[in-house]
């Protein structure tokens, strides 16, 4: 085997291990997301505060949504399900 062929092979090996390390890093990063627990039903006090609303003025938001629906001919999608209270 010539010197240059050996160098190419060594280079290829290094690239493969770098790819493996990258995949492992991404897998670990994604897996760490699973350690975040959503708040328990009794921990939603701060989420239920008025300042946590997406819309600052509920009646105005309702009117905007109403106009949007009539213009677009489509309803829904303007809000997220469930409030801070875990009762719905």
């Amino acid at each position: 085997m010539t010197g240059s062929a050996r160098r190419i092979r060594a280079n290829r090996g290094a690239r493969a291990s770098a790819r493996f390390a990258a995949v492992l890093w991404i897998a670990c990063a994604l897996a760490s997301c699973a350690t975040f627990d959503p708040p328990k039903p009794w921990e939603k006090g701060d989420l239920a505060r008025p300042s946590m609303r997406f819309d600052s003025d509920p009646p105005a938001a309702k009117a905007t949504q109403h106009i949007y629906q009539s213009k677009e001919g489509a309803a829904g999608g303007g809000a997220v399900g469930g409030g801070g209270c875990g009762c719905n």
Partner: protein, 165 residues
């Protein structure tokens, strides 16, 4: 799929299932020892022989606001027969709970658990959640949320438990 991956997934599911063990009817009630506003300690184990209605509530929970007058009425109607109502507040800030109690006074015992130890032990699934504990310390009924159409059912269940010795 490789065998070891399946094993890892099965193990993770098993651990997850054992951590989140909800209290079901027919099981003994988890321990509950908490202090009230007056400093009096309420111990669920020491209420053996009474029918206890444990209600987990919070100041930010809208249905709780409606459940309090009803629970006051329950105590008025059945307190003499041995019914005890324990309202467990789970607010992080005590001032929020005090403000709620000024608006919606409670004639039953209210205890405070800002650390969330008891809702964890009961594995409360929603606010409010209530647990009816019979005279032997066994959970007879688990109620999630407060629904007006459930009032009669709960009260008849309480009446049935009170008639048992």
């Amino acid at each position: 799929m490789q065998t070891w991956i399946r094993l890892v997934i099965a193990g993770a599911l098993l651990i997850g299932a054992s951590l989140a063990h909800a209290v079901r009817t027919g099981e003994p009630a988890p321990p509950l020892v908490l202090a009230s506003a007056s400093g009096e300690t309420i111990d669920l184990a020491r209420l053996r022989g009474r029918v206890v209605y444990v209600d987990f509530w919070a100041s930010w929970c809208a249905p709780c606001r409606r459940s309090f007058p009803w629970m006051n009425g329950l105590l008025e109607r059945h307190g003499g027969e041995g019914l005890v109502i324990v309202g467990v507040n789970v607010d992080k800030r005590r001032a929020d709970a005090d403000r709620f109690l000024r608006d919606v006074p409670a004639s039953f015992s209210v205890v405070f658990d800002a650390q969330g130890v008891t809702p964890t032990a009961f594995d409360v699934k929603g606010m409010p959640s209530s647990y009816l504990v019979d005279r032997h310390g066994v959970v007879a009924m688990v109620e999630e949320g407060f629904h007006d159409d459930r009032r009669a059912d709960i009260e008849s269940r309480i009446r049935a438990l009170l008639s048992q010795q």
